[in-house]
Amino acid sequence: MHIHISTQDGVPIYLQIVRQIRHQVASGILAPGRELPSIRELAEKLLVNPNTVARAYRELETAGLVEKRRTSGTYVAEGPSPLARREKLRVLSERVDGLLAEASQMQVPLEDLVDLLHQRARAFAKKPSLQNPEDHAS
């Protein structure tokens, strides 16, 4: 599991871990049933406080994304697909919120933004090179 920690942009480290694991679960990089590194292992690898990793894992557990098993390990939840769908929408919602904030700062009205979204979707559909490169390889 690869996680990158940055102390440049003011995002708390536990949140960076939560977001990156969420993203990896939603995109299928972390498959259901996969064991996550122990708190101590991840803390030593990322060189961050173990309490920070513990807090990130707790948050992911509360969200139902990972589960603790009796053998003390933490695993990606074997959830049914609705959870994965909710997660995907949640990840996208964060992106959309950022886009809305930026549009509002530039004083671009919502209708123009929606038009732009449709316009880009059409352009995207025409250019296979813009789509997921992994689909390409197969």
Binding site: I5, I13, E44, L47, N49
Partner: protein, 302 residues
Amino acid sequence: MNQHILEIHDLKRSYGKKVALDGVSLSVPAGGVFGLLGGNGAGKTTVLRHTLGLLAAQSGSVRVFGLDPVADPVGTLARIGYLSENRDLPDWMRIHQLISYSQAFYPNWDPDYAESLRNLFELDPKAFVRSLSRGQRARAGLLVALAHRPDLLILDEPSSGLDPVVRRDILGAIIRTIADEGRTVLFSSHLLDEVERVADRIAILHQGRIQLCARMDQVLSGHSRVQLRFSSAVSHFPPAGIWIHSEGSGHDWSLVAEAGIENIRAEVARLRAEILSVEPMNLDDIFVARTAGKPLAAGVRA
């Protein structure tokens, strides 16, 4: 659980006419990493030397494990591991002598742990301390500080002047120390990146005073940079209330707020200004905002 490992109350210290500490109060809870931040000459080392009982309080009080470290050095020092900024170690000893010499001071010395650290740090038992490189010297000092499994590990500028590989060793040692049975680490640093990574709590010391003391996540989430546009030009906007730092002129100002978004909106409305953006801040920016207007020591932003 609420027990404090270290409590400092209204500590003052002067060297001649120079005021080093001007009423410092601090509480370090058990089982976490406490980062003491400040530029050169801010007073960090002076705080740590009081904690170790190397300096007696001129006024105010210092309690470590509930004890006065000056009156009861045996009860406190045996439970503290310390790496000084100058890593003062006996130069004439070989590594194996340094280890057995240090062992004699600490009833809880763990020889197996000392040996595993010596291996991990690749310290040659026959090497003289004086012949060690800067990085190896820091590692030797760290071995001595860790091998008796202290309840409180105190590190004074542990990474200062070291290469990234040795810095990783030191951060790793801090992390393992608290991962093992919840010991406590108190370290001073001006390297804000590493403080943000490992500290649960921080205090910013500037010109002998505590500017801020809080949990790391509260420090980060509690500060924002706000870009403002005033409807009519403003020539002076001194920081006050929620605003702790200001820069700008005329209509456009960049302010640092210590408040949540609702408070920021309310204050900006009161100023009849418009918010252009509200952005999170990293520890580096917060540190500068908290200590700005006063001379910053070189290397603070390194």
